[in-house]
């Protein structure tokens, strides 16, 4: 009994928790035994190629659809819709009523989450002005550009000051400037204690923003943990250029090393850089350049999810 209580207390501490979620669509398994633990106040990324199951996981987590099996808990609620007033959600496919004015669209999204309409309109005016859209507040959504409409929808997602913000591919369709603004908005919200859970197929965004990531491939979680831990799964890469082409120093080069032009490229040996350096100097290699590169999230992703999944991500750069 005592154990159950302490487990419950631990679970309640998490902003989002999923245990063994499964989702089948017409006999096809889209999500297969996904478990997640999102700490409060963190930026947590779901990283994976299109079709990996990220959107389905998010939709199950916030209660749009129920899983075929498994459980989930959002802000302590086993039924996610019970926490709806404390959650903000930006779907992958943006949707607004075209005839609605921008401020009304934002206030309506707040009203859906329990914010009184008048207060929603007041906050919408402030937010729109902050995002240089004050002049568009009383214009119909259909007259806004795509970028403006996306900003309006994003503001509608945070208008009610949620404790958890869920963003599905939030950077899709945004130009570089707006992507930067969105990244800053996400950081600002987390500084205020808000938890941000977002999906992306762009590794650079996850690398820049996330403290923790879940790498999703073919409906399964291939990795779940801190970004540094993902990188730590790979050894550092050594890039070496020498003046001497041969000599006793060659015995210090690991067996798996490869040549890239006039460079040797190999994983840093487990003993670290000092023994390597000593062997190269003593062996008369004549070190011209030596660089030790920490692996990026992309390298970790390739190692974890496979090169096919990485190729599917499209190698998109932010």
């Amino acid at each position: 009994m005592l154990q159950q209580v302490s487990h419950s207390a631990a679970s309640n501490a998490l902003a989002v928790e999923a245990i063994d979620l499964v989702k089948d669509f017409d006999g096809t398994r889209a999500v297969d035994g996904v478990s997640l633990a999102v700490p409060p106040g963190s930026i947590y990324g779901l990283l994976g190629p299109n079709g990996a199951g990220k959107t389905t996981i998010l939709r199950m987590l916030i209660g749009i659809i129920d899983p075929s099996s498994g459980t989930r808990r959002v802000l302590g609620h086993e039924r996610p819709l019970e926490a709806a007033q404390e959650v903000g959600y930006l779907p992958e496919e943006r949707g607004l009523y075209p005839a609605m004015h921008a401020r009304d669209a934002i206030a309506f999204m707040g009203a859906l989450r329990g914010l009184p309409l008048a207060e929603g309109r007041r906050r919408a005016d402030v937010l729109l002005a902050e995002h240089n859209l004050g002049d568009w507040a009383k214009k119909p959504i259909r007259t806004l550009s795509k970028g403006m409409a996306q900003t309006v929808q994003l503001l509608g997602t945070i208008i009610h000051k949620p404790r958890l913000i869920v963003l599905d591919e939030p950077f899709a369709g945004l130009d570089a400037i707006n992507q930067g603004r969105l990244e800053e908005l996400i950081r600002r919200e987390t500084r205020a204690g808000v938890t941000v859970l977002f999906s992306t197929h762009v590794i650079a965004h996850a690398e820049r923003l996330c403290e923790s990531v879940a790498i999703v491939a073919k409906g399964k979680i291939a990795f779940d943990g801190r970004v540094d831990d993902a990188r730590a799964k790979l050894s550092a890469i050594v890039r070496l250029r020498t003046r001497a082409s041969d000599g006793p120093w060659r015995s210090a080069i690991p067996a798996g090393a490869r040549r890239e032009g006039d460079e040797w490229v190999f994983e840093l040996p487990a003993a670290g850089p000092e023994p390597l350096l000593r062997a190269l100097i003593d062996g008369g290699a004549g070190i011209e350049t030596l660089a030790i590169e920490r692996p990026g999230l992309h390298d970790a992703f390739v190692a974890i999810a496979g090169s096919a999944a990485a190729a599917a991500m499209g190698q998109e750069k932010a």
């Binding site: 939709r59 099996s69 949707g95 509608g156």
Partner: protein, 400 residues
Amino acid sequence: MMRFLRSAFVIARRDFGATVLSKTFIFFLIGPLFPLLLGGVFGGIGARVATQTVRPTVAIITEPQSFTAIATARERLAAATSDDTVIRIIRFDPEPDLAAQQKRLLASRSPPIQAVLTGWYGSFHLAGDIHKGDPTERQLELILRSAEMGMFPGPPVHVQPTKRMSPASLVKDRALTAQLGEMLLFFLTILLSGMLLSQLIEEKSNKIIEVIAAAVPIDALFVGKLFAMLAASVVGIVVWLSAGALLIQAVKSGGVQTLPPPAVGWPGFLILGVVYFAMSYLLLGAAFLTIGAQAATVREVQTMSMPITFGQVLIFGLASTAVGSPNSPIAIGAAIFPLSSPMVMIARAAQEPHWWPHLVAILWQAAWVALILHLGASMFRKTVLKSGPRRRWWSRKSVA
């Protein structure tokens, strides 16, 4: 529960505003007024033309004193029946050549004279385009007899007003009220609830359904949409009924008060009419919303609308069996079948004075509204959102 109702209210407020404040709602409001307006205008013109052309005119060649009695008798007859049907009479002074005068009058085009009356009491002579037993001749005979008796007025008739009608006419009149009430309910429902078929297309096509489904229960979305359209329909009905009542008031002497009285009385009947319209709208609307929610495009909705309209006509046919025999087994069955129940019960209100069946029926219908909405929302979650575990009817395996 409060959160559910608040969510439904947010949806309803948005939908009601988007519907009523749109330019197309003006067309929605004035559309049904066109037939009323045209009917009124052309009916009025037709009636005037009919009055001028059909009502026969009889020329009476006599002295002014004699004509006064005849004209008074004619006015009495017109007041007792209707001025539209009583012949017109015009006096002409006798001329020396009576035959020539008769011939000239009968040839007159302005006004067109059907017959010419000459002579004195006891010996009248009627000439013209007329035959024995002609309505003009009969009316003239009544007028002349009345004019003759007017010189010796009979005893006054004491009138004692009573509301009691003869059983036969009461049953007939109430059946007429029942039929009218039922038809009105049917046409208002068929005209207005069809809009609900396409209610979810907008949300599905502009993808906002995802935002809504993440924030409120689908049941609240359905309830909000249903009540928003009911409210918009009630706005339309208030406008149309007001215009209709004004028209009846304008064209019919005595106005709506002359319509046959229902068994529960006019105030009760009108209250039940409003309640049963709401129930009929909610029941059919909930069914339409459920069916329409499955459609992905406007084309699919259009394809669905014909068989649905046909189904409504069948339901009306079932409900019609209740008129005249509200306690027959088929009428009771139609009252129990939820989709025909409101129409049957409004017909019953016209014919039966008891109130308790209405209370039972309203609760029954409300329960079905809730059930259909819940089923519709569940279907939407299952088939459109693809939510929840896959369950087969032969498998009761529950999933946490």
